[in-house]
Symmetry: C2
Subunit: 214 residues, 2 copies
Amino acid sequence: MPADALLALEPRKTPVQARSAVTVQSISEATIQVLLSQGAERLTTTRVAERAGVSVGTLYQYYPNKRSLLFAVLENHLNKVAARVEAVCESARHKPLAGMIQEMAEAFVDAKMERADISVALYRISTGLGGPLLVKQVGQRLRRAVEAMLGTATDAKSPPDKFAVEIMLSAMGGAMRSLLEAGSNPSPATVRKAREQLVLLCQSYMAAATAKRV
Amino acid sequence: MPADALLALEPRKTPVQARSAVTVQSISEATIQVLLSQGAERLTTTRVAERAGVSVGTLYQYYPNKRSLLFAVLENHLNKVAARVEAVCESARHKPLAGMIQEMAEAFVDAKMERADISVALYRISTGLGGPLLVKQVGQRLRRAVEAMLGTATDAKSPPDKFAVEIMLSAMGGAMRSLLEAGSNPSPATVRKAREQLVLLCQSYMAAATAKRV
DNA sequence: TCCTTTGATGAAGGATTCTTCAGGTTTGGT
DNA sequence: ACCAAACCTGAAGAATCCTTCATCAAAGGA
């Protein structure tokens, strides 16, 4: 893979004045909106600019190409979710295992649900080039945070299995995705139930996985 | 949504001679190949035809448009996987719960792994219009099969929760996806470990979910 | 106030892509 | 051998799309 494939994704110019900061923000928002209303196939730089209320030229002043725009939006969202889960993982140390997992899983569900529209929109581009890579990176980052937390469990079982943690996280992510993509924004009751069930899923699996260690 | 959006996805003509059957098959295969080597973005009807060794016109004799081609390939794969899991669900009735789950989960992993290339390729288009719908339908179909199986468990707990089964299936699917998209085709050792862990995940969750019922 | 930087505009070039159709080739029955 | 049906071809029309650049407007320090 060519080295400039990554460089071409970096933003082109950073806003220095206030109005341009607004512009960049509205371009980001417009990307989500177009993604939701038209789909990834019909997402066009022109359409995004139109929806943002600026001209195409303006868009290209901050993003060198279409892909870099999508990449930036995706990266931004993933980082926010990861940061929130990491924070919870740090503050939940030195507790019993079940409680730690519960806090972590709930934080994950909440972070995704809070702006369900963004999540749904981004699923539609998470498959493009660079997407799986980002997801993988963030996944690793999350895994490390969870592992560090689990290491401090008061009811210390054997240390958690690296592979098992990965499985747990991707399973949780998959279930959330399926739920969000299922259609109309889920009712509060559904969200409650999902939280509860995902907590149960993670708890029971982690308990089984750490116990099984010989 | 317009009604003809679905009709436009139906195949245009069904092969009657032997050579045309070969042609459509090679078009299907070529679609996978192009998807893997070029990505969804660069998948072109012309490129698919080229790779299949036929001309574009031929392709359009069997598929009314590009989307119908992708839809057909995706549908075919999902149906195969679903059929296999359903078959196992039927033959695994009247056993203890843990054993049933194990057979089901292993069948799922095997079905996905057997042609990992197809799975990976199709993830790249499963997000297009009609994709989530198909996935949802197949998910429901699978859920019913699993529920029917669980109802016959010899160590009968309370009947399984509908929502919980959905969670389990989507979690399993998500974990598999993450694994497959992680990159280079996983080693046999990784596959073994994945099978084992996914079985554990499903077993422990189902046990916890049925036990929790009041 | 004046001038340099920063920000915004949008028409147009260049490149792809989807899809059709008029005309040729192959197959299989009679 | 003959013919109708099935099948294949691929150049070309019509529609988008990405990206650039010459030009204009706003901002803010000197």
